[in-house]
Symmetry: C2
Subunit: 156 residues, 2 copies
DNA sequence: CCATATAGTCAATCAGGTTGTCTATCATGT
DNA sequence: ACATGATAGACAACCTGATTGACTATATGG
């Protein structure tokens, strides 16, 4: 099948590779005290960043509505990764900030991703891995990381 | 950021590359008479294959419950990509088969993916692209393509 | 021939997303 | 100073896709 339709393999492998990294990340995170963290939480927390964000800003970054971003913040808040504070300069704004627990998850994620990358470097060779990263950079746009993957994938 | 956390970039680029391919596929499919096809439909139709499947089997292949698989078949049936027939040897089973319209979508998808791959080959060079594919093969498992991406990504 | 396993369906529930609406608060221009 | 318009957040209604649990119909095997 892949001989007569060589183009089919690429997207599958890309998705599979992504999933493997994410699944292994969360298996390891679970071992390190973050069993409730779901794939998209990591993305959202990174988007929130160390300085915090509002629902509107988060929605723009993630490419979803402010309501959806607000609901996601609700979830993260309920699980303890995020807390809401009010902006003293603009009482309308409620800034979502990472809690120490959230920062811990983010820091651990970064380390685990580095470890996973190192494993790939071991399997492929550092040179080949750098080439792979460079090539991916070449075919993907910079900036703009749309994270509306769940809804994007399904629908109709 | 990518200097102190080099491992963060890889998963993002993989996802982004996957999304680009899928988005361009569906933009082109829409131009070619399949405007209602959603990303996951292609995956499901490929899982159904030319010989057809039942909801239970499909659920196993996709890693979702038989009910979810049944609903997905309902959707595909409603849009005309799939039709249900009964198995004469086992009247419990209802086999979902691709309609000619569904086969057309699948064939066009294959051609479009080939074109997209050719574009990447043009941008990266055929050699580099083959190296990329080989490397992805090396770090991803064969067989077992779990396609439960929508639910997998979100949840909690 | 009955007991068990399997295929499919129905119903209730949940997560996440969307749009629309509403209120409170800021920011600006006259 | 104030009226106007823009923005932030919350609430409600609705859609899709997935889950579990319960139920029916049909095979299958002891």
């Amino acid at each position: 099948m892949s001989s007569d339709a060589p183009g089919f393999e690429l997207p599958l492998r890309l998705l599979l590779a992504f999933r493997m990294l994410i699944d292994e990340l969360h298996a390891e995170l679970a071992r390190q005290g973050h069993p409730d963290l779901r794939p998209m939480h990591g993305f959202v927390m990174q988007a929130i960043g160390p300085r915090g964000t509002t629902a509107v800003e988060l929605g723009r970054m993630l490419g979803v509505s402010k309501q959806a971003a607000g609901k996601t913040i609700d979830t993260l808040e309920r699980v303890g990764y995020v807390e809401r504070t009010t902006d003293s300069h603009d009482t309308r704004r409620k800034i979502a900030r990472l809690t120490p627990y959230g920062m811990d998850a983010l820091n651990r994620s970064a380390r685990i991703f580095d470890d996973l990358r190192a494993r790939w470097a071991h399997e492929l060779g550092e040179e080949r891995l750098q080439a792979l990263e460079a090539d991916l950079r070449k075919v993907t746009p910079d900036g703009l990381w749309r994270l509306d993957t769940p809804g994007w994938f399904g629908s109709l």
